[in-house]
Symmetry: C3
Subunit: 298 residues, 3 copies
């Protein structure tokens, strides 16, 4: 079992939710405001009308944290691509070195009002709903580490190609921070690696090295680091030869039961998240985690 | 992942639904009529009362297409065997060289009235319901290729032994033809190889070589081509040592949730199939596919 | 497939439900009475308040049969530990040589009144409900064979470490005795090894050697026989570093759907068991099995 190896490795206690700024500025409300005013796009979309393939480059330094702004931008881009009938495939990748995405931005959950937390969670749901149910062929070109929400982002895709570098890890490691992955994170993982692997991975908040991730099926293919994008493009070409309508209906048939569970429970799920994350004990966990991140930086 | 290998191989685009006649006669209504008048049995049943084991030899040239006649004959034979309390085991195999069954007969779906399509689909359901829920021990002796409906037929059995010949393939490749495998095909496959393997296999319409099929659990055992039937017989002997009543109840417990879903939705499922298959775009796909088959013959 | 190996091995027909006394006394009502009066504990609990880890040593000669008394004692111990907030981990192991637990005690089901059978089944349910849903980290240190109910006991734990001795076997082999594993045994196994492995294992009542059990995921780790307990202790230490509250909620999320199915159907499940086990044909199977055990002893 790959998670036994993962449990032994130090990876378990590294990586996790992310902090969109460098450690020292993490808790600064001023910084947040500046960030909101930022106009440089956090995601660059290249869409090639000839091939019908769009590429989303995540480019939000330092670690592509999934902030409210980032996710909003992601959802808007997705909606545009989805509505363009010519766009049939989407490759998601990162322009940041060593990281695909470090996951949900803690700053959106720490010291924030219930309203803000609720608004944030809604866009996390939206991202998942749009991607897991996308009509496009979606491929994650995982060019670096991909913990927590970054792993979820990968799991929504149809195919996952990861850089074969043992320094990188991937996994839903929320438990390590004292946070619980919600049922739809869980079901997405069960649909990918099965019930038992998920039970262990989520209980322990495991992060897997690429070889371990491949073994349990958390990623589909490992390639040398400099070939991740090329192989993603080649794979996309193969997937696009499949009759489109039949493939889309088949995808829906496989994924809609899970999607419907969230769709019919969005408000309750938001309520659940907000009341959990605003608990004093959880806020304390988040603060300790951010301080740990700062110390690592220093 | 075996489906990565399958995706790379050319197998993906070969094989598929079948055509009960040789290419040139495919679209000929006259031929259909002749076929309906045929009195030679498409299935030969050998039942050994000493052992309690029946063998169904599929012998409908050239490729054991699952036509309305073929399936009707299959269902009648099944019902007889099921009602004979002495018959405890069933081996399904093919007398045609190189093929187990090439799947549903396109001629039953192409250029036919909605009524005919509905009648055909009903007997496809009936075959699945009878076999997936059979009280007998059922073993598929897969002596050749087994795409689409042929794969489904194998999946209904309790155990699958396949000829270890890399020229043969097996899989639910309907998507390749623009057709969607219905939910009960999907669930039968999920029950056998899990959710993720099914998601990829059905989206891409993958056909697996024997070694790949074994790897994901689509078949249970590979043996040299000339030993498929012998090993099936030996395996049957072992299975028949198990206390029968407990084994039957256990089998029901595992399979009834899936069976019940179709049983309570048969009419809707027929409606769904008929309205899909009679669409102009799907009929066009079927015609193109048959022309492709003809060209290959020529 | 490991169950193919298991099917070939002789293990299939050995082991099974157990008999709490030595063969010759099995059917003696006198003995039963004596047993009920026994005051020596069948389970020794060592609880180390420093580490927060309790160890349950099963010590009911000869084979830790899960009798009414044994299970009652187990449930009481579990309840005490669960209520002690300081107790965070539980290791279950056996003090009997060569066996973890031989499973449900046939004497509680053979020649007994429906009332007795019902009372017995209720405590079997209770054991499963308490363990599968425990807030503690639970680890099975499987120091010997573990058929039927012994396997179920292991499957309720969070992690299974087994002695790497090919003489030992583990599995839900009820079918071999003509008995049907109930739906919650089945679901616990599906949650651990998946649908297809469960379908074959339960239909055939397979017992797996350690290497085969590891291969399908029925156990998580094999270690030399004399290190089972040490490794269990080390593993526990790692699991206890995980933030507790998040781990517990995650565990519930994974297991509650299965637990709820039994919780809302306990009476029907008892009725079902009682009417099945008191059937003349099943009682006959049990008698034959006990006679087979006696002959083996002699």
């Amino acid at each position: 079992m790959a998670w036994r190896a993962a449990l032994r490795s130090k990876a378990v206690i590294s990586g996790l939710l992310s902090c969109s700024s460098h450690g020292r500025l993490c808790a600064s409300p001023t910084f947040i405001t500046q960030r909101n005013n930022s106009t440089s796009p956090k995601i660059k979309v290249d869409y090639d009308q000839t091939t019908g393939v769009a590429v989303m480059h995540m480019q939000s330094p330092p670690v592509n944290s999934l902030s409210l702004d980032f996710l909003t931008e992601l959802c808007i881009s997705l909606e545009k691509l989805e509505m363009d009938k010519g766009c049939r495939g989407l490759i998601i990748t990162s322009n940041q070195p060593k990281v695909f995405s470090a996951g949900l931005d803690i700053l959106e959950m720490y010291g924030k009002s219930p309203e803000h937390c609720g608004e944030f969670w809604k866009v996390v749901q939206e991202m998942w709903l749009k991607l897991y149910g996308s009509n496009m062929v979606t491929i994650a070109a995982i060019s670096g580490s991909s913990p927590a929400g970054g792993c979820l982002l990968s799991l929504t895709c149809d195919y996952r190609i990861m850089a074969d570098n043992p320094r990188y890890t991937i996994g839903l490691n929320e438990t390590q921070l004292g946070i619980v992955a919600p049922f739809w994170f869980k079901e997405t993982m069960v649909n990918t690696v099965g019930h038992r692997n998920t039970e262990v991975a989520l209980q322990l908040g495991l992060l897997y090295k690429p070889a371990e991730a491949l073994k349990i099926g958390l990623v589909d293919q490992l390639v040398p680091e400099d070939q991740v994008f090329t192989v993603a493009t080649q794979t996309m070409t193969k997937w696009l030869t499949i009759p489109e309508h039949a493939r889309q209906i088949t995808k829906s048939m496989m994924r809609n039961p899970t999607i419907d569970k969230l769709r019919t429970n969005r408000d309750a799920d938001i309520q659940n998240f907000v009341s959990f994350i605003t608990k004093e004990s959880i806020q304390k966990s988040l603060r300790m985690y951010m301080e740990m991140l700062k110390q690592r930086k220093a």
